[in-house]
Symmetry: D3
């Protein structure tokens, strides 16, 4: 369960309120690389954690810290909105600046929230719960977390660069520092679980069941006659230490797929169907086959 | 630009069509860990690639391969739907099995597509373009790709385990093998760009601008008196080799935020507002301050 | 900022794990009437609160409590998923029960989360940030909160009724009790702000600016000749004590709207356009009018 | 069933077309506090109404009126778009005003609709059917309706304040008047159903089943040593007249949750799993327990 | 503006309530091929109609009729839900049928709406305003309408085939009849506007501006050596009567795209960037070029 | 399966980069009328095609071509973003132009992608898989394709008109030409399948099952006393040649719907319910009726 303090984790000061920058900050609140996402992602990973308990404990810690990051960003948005225009009266005729500000703002900061943050990104697109990744595989989840923090820190540096407000720059420097830690933190868990040798994820699937010959092959779909220049991924031992990279030209092994004609109940055009009487017989036997578990339909050429 | 063959990259055989498994396969087509996502993600990263050209070339190769993976999965869905029921007539009274099959299917496989794959996940939730991550930072993007392949391979192994259809198991073993390669491939790019020392991402931001003391600190929000057991992330050198891990108890440094009262144009309740006359004066001066760039409003206690 | 305990706010016990009930519980996590929504709604209202500070403080309290409610529900989902099937092998032929369970589960509980909760509703539709309402008007927000708790408590009672698991019933009885309090709590704020006389919300807009005659009229669009039986809303003083209810038959006061023909740059069909030469003249003068602020176009008959 | 007139319910006049204001009006069409939402919400509540028939009749009336409100707003958008620029030719070099207008418009008003309204909000985010709330509980639904009208009227007053176009101000004054009525109307239904004593919603759930002691307690998660100042919600009789408010410090009653280790079929990392042989035994017995209904697993400490 | 009758347009009778069929019917309410979509699509096209007024009048008629179709479907859902189970008590042990019904229902029909229709599709995915297409081009809109009615009628026939409830079959036969009319109706408008010669849409764009040689060419991306068998689209006069079909093998005319290196403010990895000093110079000159309108950057090989 | 070339299908040249136009181009990438949609739509139709194989082959061709169209547009976005501002430093005070550009850009082109295209529309709304229509009925699908190309070509002409960049105009002229072909191509398939006589779609449903008298009737919901002027759709033979158009005044045939009172498990308010004891009896018998298949409930007056 959770507790709170009324104070913020770090100082949020705005020297010169800027409602267009308020909109930009929304990306760090409600965007796919924003703080609601990492907050819920770490908490859901903690709540569903199975295996060594110390990872649950750690994820709870950082998930809880992130609630406070949303709080600081929401405060930064509210402060940047102070003094923002609420009226377009005569603006285009008389005051280009007010017009440009309002055109560049998130209009819902006026219309919907009355000068407060929203759970949306910089375009007003709402936060989406599909972004909260927790797979139940600790290494897959850590890579998802590293990816979130890498794009998140990139976002924070872009916001830092975008503004010349000293208060905002200081605040963003704090978030950037935390993202440095969190990138390292998730990689530390991967190191504890074998580092690069934790791959391929999941490592509990027996690799002998893979179709051999394709698990360390770079498949080239390039149609040109010049050869690909290649890189670390075209030769040498694989990163997981379990194979050897090589190059394969893309080639079809699967034949041309053949689907059965439409069933009557799907109401295709008549022109798509074979004569109905024979078709009904075919379909009936298929259904019977499917339900009895016998028979089976190999519908693809090999 | 792109070309195609009418044949599939690998054989897709369904021995015993199962419309409930068709629904399950949709997660690998239209889910966040599915193939439309990685296909578009690699292609958009290629098309927006800036920096060494060989990465664009490589991303194009694998993005193109992934189109063929969507194709094979869509074919697998269509084949699993052959023989599926299209009518519930008398089912609950007479035939529990047909009822259970239809209850477990994606109803839109009958109603909307007429026994074909859809661009949705296993719950019918449509593919969402927000999942296509391309940040313009090569290492951030590679971690996003590793994360996608790690959750994608985990999904494929779960599908492999779920079915006992030999054709489907063989097909999924091919996808699993390709995901092994792709995880290794993206890590190979990271190795070329410094491996763990590429962190913190982005490495082009000067770390001297970070708020020092917090970039390698594990912040503990735990309120209990027993200490966290810790792990690789609480002591020792950081993974990027640029700092030393340590633990900090969470403590507020930011004071209590103070927001200005509502502006009249935002139409809060009267009870939220200070007397209107004085308020209008305050707001006016704020707007002027904001627009002139002078003044500035420090609205947070330090 | 925020802290946590590793213990739950209330006991979450599952006597007989039921993966179909796990899916049902998702509605209380990621649905529009669920706990992620109220958690973020109260916190965003707190963070954007302008006016008496005590409301910020109170909203922070309850928003923080709600994080712990998501935690308990996520735990309940994970516990209900223990023992759930991960394979359909031979199920339809041999074991109808396993088939029915898997058909009724959220397939992503197996495929995507590996037996853990997701940030989605009972149909797998992701949580959506648009549901987080904070208008900046304290009474509008309190009614939004009452509405969320009224639908939320209704949901919790339906879940309570649906299960006969004693552990789950006990846990849900706790959530139901908290919803009782929260409904009362938000109404208490409305009472402090004038109760029914806080209407019409917002009360800071001068009602003299409303089109008189329509603000307390029940407009009847019913085309039948029998009269509406009416109710409290067709006669007597209005609930806000500021008007008298009466009934008005719907009648058009606005004339037929007339839109200008398409502009050439919008590429309508030729058949929609008046001769191009004259049209360009018209449009040009309109643009000039719009930009100069003079003129004006009354395009609707009165 | 439904009928129409070609005339509008009220006059929609635009004196000075403003394409940026057209974008703002979209919030009142396709936003969560907009007219499509209330229109569908009242109609779906009518169509699903169970209980006294007069509420169905009343909801049909107002739902039908709201279709006409969408119509007026769509007309207002179209009129405000007349004269809007369709080309950026040389604009940034020669004409800052045209550039600022186009930057502040919804680009889809040009690109997608050719100068007409869309079913989206002020940021172009599409209307979402999840906002249409109808719970089947008449009081829960009325609070949802009051909340929608309270935020809707707040939006309309902000739009009124934003423009100085006399035609638009008059039109918005009509919508504001109707929202006044509708707030009162929904509260009138609540009065008919017991007013405050209709709480806690739903009132058909026996309160004796609630966990006693928590249904009228304000739970404080605040970690500071100073006490909360409190308010109407911390003491005195509850608003529903069925309890007495009191304050409880947040404290954990639920123990630390313990989840079972991952099942093999979920393909966690090996490091997360206990030895596989013993695990399979455990899981098998769990499945059997779940399906037989006997046994049961208490997985949480009390 | 709009009026209503309390009676339905056509009889909605359910002989044997079936909650799984209730879920299926939701596709016709809130799906992309459903009635909310066509209702709003025709109304928005009417409200934004520019050009001959008779089309506005006609679209208003049919849009208004469609509201009544949503009403009938919502009623059909509510009737099919009567008698649906609300509890899973002991179901898996004792009563497979109840379990299968609940597994196949939309759980939100119990949990969220209390046995009433929702504004969602058969998978519970909410209606989405993006589906409401109105382009401002009358022929483009009519084709969108034909497409909606063609998929809508196909859906209705599949629903008709799925059920053996005589009441539901009769009701669906009415909807199917109306869809027949509406398909014909929209084609009639196209005939009035030139029929096939209205193509290419929009016909107000001068075809002389098209890149000649590609506007009637079937581009073949097929890599096989056997030739495409072709069809009506590979030879003969084009359908619009303005060109002659022919086949072109796909071939690249566009060269390899070259993007500039990353700008410093975008914080790519250092390894992606050329030396910073020279880069800043380049970027500065580019910005100046962009703003002055002089210069220009040809970044693609021809 | 698929292959690629590193060259583009057609030349993409930007003479004067314009970041606001980059945003506009996003509509053609990720909008409902954009290229991701048609690409996936044609490919999914190919992959699910049942009936004559030549249509699968043709759809594969054009779907593959469309991948290259997304590629060109993504390249055009990246080129237009070169030189775009990344900082608002002092902009409002010193440089209105930079401010206006940044206000009119998609902020995520800076913040999220670092000057590259995204899988979103011109408002930043993500691409949505629900737009990918493939019904399994060849004529329904062809009309969906014509509609997509008609709105798509209209979009392209609007973009062409919007810019005066010669490179962009040339590139868009290529896309416009291709859309001309594709409109003709899909109509050619319809001609092969009977042209107008393929209606009503689906033609495999027996029209004798339609409710006669309504399948060629224009239903008028207009309440005015003046008669509709009519058009091709009110008289003469229907377009499909199978009926005769006529006009019917809207009139209710369906009676007033009567729903059963709420069931106890749905927890409506007590005031909505009839006495509980009798109700439980009623409900029980209904459930039994539903499950046994006997009885049946006619709940609608005729």
């Amino acid at each position: 369960m959770f507790y709170h303090d009324r104070q913020l984790q770090y100082k949020v000061r705005v020297d010169k309120p800027d409602p267009v920058f308020a909109r930009m900050l929304q990306q760090a609140i409600g965007g796919i690389e924003g703080e609601i996402r990492v907050c819920l992602q770490y908490l859901f990973q903690a709540w569903g954690n199975r295996g060594p308990e110390k990872y649950r404990n750690m994820l709870l810690e950082t998930g809880t810290e992130e609630i406070g990051h949303i709080e600081m960003l929401a405060t930064a948005v509210a402060l940047n909105l102070e003094g923002a225009p609420t009226s377009m009266q005569e603006e285009f005729a008389n005051d280009k600046v007010v017009g440009a500000i309002m055109g560049g703002m998130d209009p819902r900061h006026i219309l919907s929230s009355g000068m407060a943050a929203l759970a949306v990104d910089a375009n007003g697109v709402p936060f989406n719960g599909s972004w909260v990744v927790g797979s139940g595989n600790i290494v897959a989840d850590m890579y998802s977390n590293v990816a979130a923090e890498a794009t998140g820190r990139t976002l924070a540096t872009r916001l830092w660069h975008m503004t010349d407000d000293a208060g905002m720059k200081d605040f963003l420097s704090f978030l950037i520092a935390r993202d440095t830690m969190h990138q390292n933190q998730w990689m530390a868990v991967i190191e504890e679980n074998g580092g690069l040798r934790s791959m391929p994820v999941p490592n509990s699937f027996p690799q002998s069941e893979e179709v051999q010959g394709f698990n360390y092959a770079f498949v080239s779909t390039y149609i040109g006659s010049d050869t690909t220049e290649g890189g670390r991924w075209t030769q040498g031992p694989s990163l997981d230490g379990k194979g050897e990279f090589h190059v394969e030209k893309a080639a079809p092994l699967g034949g041309i797929p053949k689907l059965a004609p439409p069933v009557p109940g799907a109401f295709a055009q008549k022109e798509q169907m074979t004569p109905v009487d024979s078709l009904i017989g075919t379909v009936t036997s298929k259904i019977e086959g499917a339900l009895s578990g016998s028979g089976g339909t190999s519908t693809t050429d090999s």
